[in-house]
Amino acid sequence: MAAQASAASVHRGPVFSMKGVTKVYAMGEVEVHALRGVDLELHEGEFTVLLGPSGSGKSTLLNILGGLDRPTAGRVTYREGDLSEAGERALTRYRRRHVGFVFQFYNLIPSLTARENVALVTEIAGDPIAPEEALALVGLKYRLDHFPSQMSGGEQQRVAIARAIAKRPDVLLCDEPTGALDISTGIAVLGALERVNSELGTTTAVITHNAAISAMADRVISLADGQITSDVRNATKQPAATIEW
């Protein structure tokens, strides 16, 4: 499938394209409509913030983009590949080669040090950045041999970012990356994301319910009740360091 297409190939179309995507979960005997016919395109190098209250469907959207979930109906393509039709193996391969994830609770491996958590990914990637270099990029070159339990939340999240970008992903997907952090450490994390986006040119999507973060984005998409309610392009991007909430 085309999802395997080399990340290096020059491509001018949208990176992601969603057409009429719906997602229905069966929660016991109740059906929950998490997405109701979403159309969306994300472009190369864009820093997008997906904004919405909890239950708006933003996480579902991100999970589908990341190959963790499949839509109930509609079509999702990554470059020329069809994610909505891909099988379990193909999705695993897609995540492995093209996607970097950052989660609210970091999801680091507690038994591995910062360097080793990053190495976890570089060992299975084709053309990775050295773990030390990736950690330096997020400002953690002095914490290489610390275990997660020896680091603060913000530091752990930055390790998670380093882990996500070390394989040079085509797209970086972040789910509430600052959700578990206080403001100052949250800003350090956002700074790291900003730097990755600008220095590596990685297409980045951040979902959050924190509207303040949208100031640093190229594009802000708002969701409510499973539908896109607005799609705005920022005229100027505000540096992460100046954001306040």
Binding site: S59, N63, G66, L68, D69, R89, T92, R93, R95, R96, R97, V99, G100, F101, F103, Q104, F105, N107, L108, I109, P110, S111, L112, T113, E116, N117, A119, L120, V121, E123, I124, F147, P148, S149, Q150, R163, A164, D175, A180
Partner: protein
Amino acid sequence: MKALDRKLLRDLWNVRSQVLAIALVVSSGIALLVMAQGVFGSLLTTRDAYYTRYAFADVFAGAKRVPNWIEERIAAIPGVRQVQTRVVVSVSLDVPGVTDPVNGRLISLPDRGRPALNDLALRRGRFLDPDRAEEALVGERFAEAHGLDLGDRLFAVINGRRQPLEIVGVALSPEFVYGIGPGELVPDPKHFGFLWMTRRHLATAFEMEGGFNDVALTLADDSPSLERAAIVELDAILDPYGGLGAIPRADQTSNWYLENELTQLENMGLLVPLIFIAVATFLLNVVLRRTVAVQREQIAALKALGYSNLRLGIHYVQWAVVVVALGALLGIGAGLLLAEAMLGLYMEYFRFPLLIYNVSASSILIAVGVSLVAATVGALGAVRSVVSLPPAEAMRPAAPETFRVSLFERLGARRWLSQPARMVLRNLSRRPVRAGLSIVGIAFAGAIMVVGSAMMDSMDELLEVQFNIIQRQDLSVSFFEPVERSAVHELAALSGVLQVEPTNGVAARLRNGHLQKQTAIQALAPDARLQRVVDVDYRAIRLDRPGLVLSTLLAEQLQVEPGDTLMVEIMEDGRPVREVVLTDTVDDLLGVTAYMEQESLRRLVRRDDTISGAMLKIDSLAEERLFGLLKAMPAVAGVTLRSAALENIQTYMLDNMSMMMSVNLLFAVIIAFGVIYNTARISLSETSRELASLRVIGFTRGEISSILLGELGILTVASIPLGLLLGYGMIAGVMSAFESELFRLPVVVDPNTFLVSAATVLGSMAVSAWTVRRKLHDLDLVAVLKTRE
């Protein structure tokens, strides 16, 4: 039902496969205990009832020929309650259609009425008609082995003459519960049988009219001093009539074997059940610790709602109670079934006319109680840490686990290890005690397998030594009376006989101070080749010095060492007592024996140069014809085939051992599966979040499986050598516990036994891994990202 009890049931249901696995381990321990106790109790009760109802005698004695009027003198011995005199003769039997040599013992029954002692239980047919000379009763196993029916005829060969016998009944006697023939280890009803005839007719056939050659008596009470005194008196009375020395009930052959078996059963039922219970306790502790860790916040909430520490403690202890109760239910059921199956096997070799099931309730209660206490301790250990936390603190997530670089990595292996391999090592080394106990638990499974199979190996070795190194004759011949040595030449002259060696023996009492032992001294030629004395390295010992050689065990019993002098009382006319030097001891494996060079023995006994039997090596093609010729020789009392004896023992072993082996295999698999499966489930529960995270960032199912299974693999592989070692230690312990006058099993473990043990453990691991791997496929990748641990 209280809400908390509902929670208990649902929690248990959620981990039902783990609960079941632990309950099975508990049940294995209880089943083993119930089985051993059930078989022991039932055999003991059955034996006692049988002995009482059928008046099994207290003292037995044989003699050459005693006039009938002596019976009154015996009855007059102080403390004697009842006396039974009999005629007992060994004969060779001719069973129509059977070519193998068959030997038998003919025992007289009173002309009128039932025997006052050692009464028979009639299984089929009727008692003897005193007016009919040819009527006989046969023992049940003999009848079964030859398919004999009422009205069938067979022949006793008496002085070369065939005396026809008509079977009118099939019977059992308390004297022959374990109906073993002379020189046999295991009853061989195909080649040896017991028959009963009316006294008058038997005496006539054997020229024993007006006399008897066997006496049994009961005593007024069972005090040892009375028994000793009666034996001394009886010996004195029978002395002039060729008394062979009286023996107490304890030394009576069948009873002695039965007693030995009971002792083994009694000892067997303890160690192994305890291992199972210990392993179950450990598993319960681990599973509960994990459950409590996961439910930390629930516990805090419950405490915030007002539940007391005690109530919560009880809640988790109930877990243990449910598991033990389930295990006890299964275990008692399985134990009773196993006991019945085992008893069925015993009834094949030990014959009773009745069977009284007796499983002592108290032993079962103790087993369940011990399991319960152990499990409760395991549960409390797990719960205490959480219950003692203040609710507010418990409400917060537990501090993240701290990890270290494992020792193995620090030793320099780190650079070679992939990140997943490091995860495996660090997970293991974070809980070294738990990993260690898991290894020990799995090792027990391997050890149980080793013990089971090594029993077989030892038996094989024993048979190999006994039947290929020590006894190398094809058949042995015994005579009614000692005959001239020239008989050797007669035997050698028979066509088909390749080699002949005389055997000679004398019944004797060996004494050292107050210690004494009744046995037979076997005479051997210095250059004997067909029957030899071999040392612990299986090298033949040359008997060329005058003096005794004793089995090491016998020498220990008599507390003598080479160089010491023993008093030897010869159980023949006049019962002379001689001093003999112990020249050597030999670590033999079967029986306890005294050996002497034949010429020295002859001088000791001061008798003519006679022999009591012979060993023959023969041409197998001439076998059948030779049996006929030997039976026709008037002097020949019996012919025994070595191959038949060997085959019989092997059948016995296969019968007994194959059941034990299957039970062992089952239990080993249960324990291995119990430990490995629980370890796998726990580590899955502990690492599922990490594993799901890895799946999210692109690891395949195969890759995360290898992390989880790598941990199991390391535990399992590490357990194998330990299991083999433990097994070897246990088998050495078991063998020394089994050491008896009957046999000493050499500690021999065939390499295949180790292989089978390792394979069983690895197989159990494969099944556990397969079961858990399916759970890995169901990991919820999305949920894991949304929750904090």
